[in-house]
């Protein structure tokens, strides 16, 4: 059994983790960073993902995609209120959002797949083995379409997604494993774009979720947006500049807002500085000011907490521990509000950015058959049902039902000789079809018989991923009927297959972009190191040599700006050649110094 990794595919940041002898660990990049910004940039040389793409965001905003998780499993109408905030254009085809970049269009699962591939590559380099299987986390409040879209993203990235697991429950696995907790716990998970709350019971290795609730559209991004709105208005008043007309500047303001928000979790006041085309904009923000801006948003998380408690049949004071997950829970205001609701101080010892990925690794370990002690019993967050007469939804599986679960329903005909019945599957808590989420439609074939005689039994099964499967059987003949379910906001199997093929074609372009980035990083590192060495050793080498070294590093500084990895590599080789003597001189000097200071024993070691 090959290794299974755990992936937290976040709105703002993503992480990948693995199990190292019974302990979950996040895989860092070579420079020690564990978070990969969930940002994808399309350059002339192909794709860039993560930190380089974040830098690309202010240079080329219309070709840089961020917060793509907000579009997963959605149609255009679902996101119309926030379209104005995004620098790229969107349209919809077959119920699925398409993101337009230049003359190409991408679906959200394709963009997510690019992030997944970057994580996969990071893990493969670190673990020195091929990675093909993964557990991926989603917000607990994600509906069927959003879960399916996440699974599609995994497939497009060349990963077999063995399980889609809810973020708060993943966090509880990591928390429970580390703390050896027993009892009732509440997980409050406020991430970049989504909010979840889950109430669980931990007993003898069983993690039983009682209830979950949330808001799939509320997170740190929305806090940033409040700050952005304030700054844009203020810049217009003080500098007469309409920031919204400059998409690059808009991204600068957005990133500065995010940074200011983060700083205000530790400081009570901070200054935002934005370089405008005609001068500098400076604004001092206090924590109080930020809190009054986002107060309404933070308070909006409390109603789902109360609903989850109610569904679990518990009072807030019965909860033994409250655990905070997600970067946004670093805000003191969030902590105060949560403590107020549950009447106790929440736990925040675990790194709120990493705990979800760690939990995914624990679940991967369970699925791999290496951990028989722990078992997670999760629930479906939303009621699932079908459309009945008069546009009313009839619920078949209630929210907070433990999964896997199934429900059987018998269907017949209204007219003599009727040969099919249309079935519309919905998800949501409202009475009317139009207020709920349309998941899918399918046509049930009926034998041509008098009205009411045919009897076809349909089984609606929600698997352990929270994803719906539909099967049908003719009761009279006992024959199974194949059901072609057409998702309302999802890709068809054919589309996913096409995208998998396409992603192999893209791979070549991506390699090129990656080579440029790696060469550039190396070039900058060698320039910095050489400058440092020159500063120390300029008196040890000749002026001529000094000038020559200055010349080649300056040249490399120019070359690395061009998107040509071969030229950059050649520049690096040139610098290495010219500085060979300098390196030797420095080495001798160091050796001499070491010997003189008589730390021979240490040196030899």
């Amino acid at each position: 059994m090959s290794r299974i990794v755990g992936i937290d595919l976040g709105t703002t940041n993503s992480l990948i983790a693995y199990m190292d002898k019974g302990t979950p660990r996040v895989i860092p990049s070579p420079d020690g960073k564990t978070l990969v910004p969930s940002i994808v940039g399309m350059t002339d040389n192909g794709l860039i993902v993560g930190d380089p793409a974040k830098a690309h965001l202010t240079r080329d905003p219309s070709r840089t995609i961020y917060s793509v998780k907000r579009f997963m499993g959605k149609g255009l109408a679902d996101v119309k209120d926030e379209l104005k905030y995004f620098p790229y254009s969107l349209h919809e085809k077959n119920g699925v959002i398409r993101i337009e970049i230049g003359d190409k269009t991408y679906t959200p699962p394709q963009v997510s797949a690019m992030i997944l591939k970057e994580l996969k590559r990071r893990a493969e380099e670190f673990l020195k083995e091929d990675i093909s299987k993964a557990v991926i986390t989603v917000p607990a409040y994600f509906n069927d379409s959003q879960r399916q879209a996440t699974k599609d993203a995994g497939m497009i990235a060349g990963l077999e997604v063995l399980r889609i697991i809810n973020e708060p429950t993943a966090a509880s696995l990591a928390y429970g494993l580390q703390k050896k907790t027993q009892g009732l716990i509440a997980i409050y998970d406020l991430g970049g774009g989504t909010f979840d709350v889950s109430i669980l019971k931990l007993k003898d290795g069983i993690f039983e979720v009682f209830a979950t609730n949330g808001d799939a559209h509320l997170g740190g991004d929305d806090f940033d947006q409040r700050l952005v709105d304030l700054l844009v208005k203020d810049i217009a008043e003080t500098h007469g500049l309409q920031v919204q007309d400059h998409s690059d500047l808009m991204q600068v303001v957005r990133l500065e807002s995010e940074r200011a928000k983060v700083r205000l979790s530790d400081e009570t006041a901070t200054t935002v500085v934005v370089e405008l085309p005609h001068g500098k904009y400076e604004k001092t923000l206090t924590r109080e000011a930020l809190e009054s801006l986002v107060m309404e948003l933070v308070e909006r998380t409390l109603a789902p907490c109360r609903s989850a408690l109610k569904d679990a049949g518990l009072r807030a004071d019965q909860i033994d521990e409250v655990v905070l997950v997600g970067g946004s829970t670093r805000m003191p205001l969030v902590r105060t509000k949560v403590a107020g609701l549950f009447g106790r101080q929440p736990h925040s010892e675990l790194n709120p950015d990493e705990v979800v990925a760690l939990g995914a690794a624990v679940q991967a370990d369970i699925l791999g058959g290496h951990n028989k002690e722990i078992l997670l019993l999760d629930v479906t967050p939303l009621s699932m049902g079908i459309e009945t007469m008069g546009g009313v939804m009839s619920a078949l599986i209630r929210r907070n039902t433990t999964i896997p679960t199934s429900s059987k329903e018998m269907f017949t005909t209204y007219a003599d000789g009727q040969t099919s019945v249309d079935i519309h599957i919905l998800q949501g808590e409202r009475e009317l079809v139009k207020d709920n989420r349309s998941l899918a439609r399918f046509q049930l074939k009926m034998p041509p018989l008098p009205a009411g005689v045919p009897r076809v039994e349909v089984t609606f099964l929600i698997d352990a991923n929270g994803i719906l499967h539909v099967t049908a059987r003719d009761i009279r003949t006992s024959e199974a009927q194949s059901v072609q379910v057409k998702p309302s906001h999802g890709l068809t199997d054919d589309e996913v297959e096409g995208m998998i093929r396409e992603s192999f074609q893209f791979a070549e372009e991506d390699i090129k972009a990656r080579q440029v980035i790696e060469a550039r990083t190396e070039a900058n590192a060698i320039i910095a190191a050489t400058e440092k060495a020159l500063a120390r050793a300029s008196d040890l080498i000749s002026d001529k040599e000094n000038t020559e070294i200055q010349r080649v590093i300056q040249q490399l500084g120019e070359t690395q700006k061009v998107d040509d990895h071969r030229a950059i590599r050649a520049g690096i080789a040139e610098v290495e050649k010219v500085t060979h003597h300098l390196a030797e001189v420095l080495m001798d000097a160091t050796l001499k110094e070491a010997l003189e200071s008589k730390k021979v024993s240490e040196f030899v070691k």
Binding site: I206, G369, L375
Partner: protein, 242 residues
């Protein structure tokens, strides 16, 4: 799916729900266990299996919840798909089906009201034709409340505010009364539950016991259907008057 038909013929013998059958994989005999003794493959639960039998519990209404949970956790460890993700597709499918059934069984048996409803459905036959109209006094009370609710909804302009708040108070009072009534019905239901368990465990003549059981089932069914009216009314009152 031959094994299913095999089980169906045995479904009548309720006392032996996991009766002898063949392992779907190695064809060796499996006797009432969930895993084959030969090849250790998970076996599909038989189609005639009821929720009580799934938990290996007698068909009684007073269940120790701790014990129920313990069995549920045990069986979850046997069936949950998490433990079959490295197995072949047949085993995965069986684990998924068994797990879904187990979860439904636990959800039903854990809730005392659903437990009674389920028992009545299981024992159906004898108690099928129970009238579904509430008794006259309850019926009248509900009609009257519906009228009051209607007028409450129509009073929306500000000048009606006094009348509205008076009506609200009246409706809230009625709701408390109904909730009280619901609690009394539930007490009566628990008494009947004990009665059922006594009949079920007594070693009396089967025909005589059947008659006694039917009497208890009927009265439980009646309490349940009246309770449904009250619950719906309370829900509507809560939604309208807050």
């Amino acid at each position: 799916m031959d094994h299913h038909h095999h089980h169906e013929t045995l479904a009548g013998t309720r006392e032996l729900p996991m009766a002898r059958s063949m392992c779907w994989h190695c064809q060796s005999e499996v006797t009432g266990e969930y895993l084959c003794g030969q090849c250790v493959k998970v076996q599909p639960l038989s189609k005639g299996l009821d929720y009580f039998a799934c938990f290996k519990l007698p068909r009684l209404l007073n269940i120790d919840e701790q014990e129920l949970e313990r069995i549920y956790y045990d069986l979850s460890r046997t069936f949950h798909p998490d433990f079959y993700s490295t197995k072949d597709d047949s085993e995965k499918a069986i684990s998924l089906g068994n797990s879904a059934f187990l979860n439904s069984a636990y959800r039903t048996l854990k809730d005392p009201i659903q437990r009674v409803e389920y028992l009545i459905r299981l024992e159906a036959g004898a108690v099928k034709d129970i009238r579904s109209n509430p008794p006259a006094d309850l019926f009248e009370e509900i009609l009257e409340l519906q009228e009051d609710l209607e007028s409450f909804r129509s009073l929306s302009s500000p000048e009606d505010s006094i009348e509205r708040s008076e009506l609200r108070e009246k409706l809230q009072c009625a709701r408390e009364h109904l909730e009280d009534r619901q609690a009394k019905m539930e007490t009566a239901l628990w008494e009947k539950s004990h009665e059922w368990d006594q009949v079920q465990t007594a070693n009396s003549d089967p025909d005589e016991a059947r008659d006694q059981k039917n009497v208890v089932l009927r009265s439980m069914q009646e309490i349940l259907s009246n309770r449904t009216y009250i619950c719906n009314m309370v829900k509507e009152l809560l939604e309208t008057t807050g």
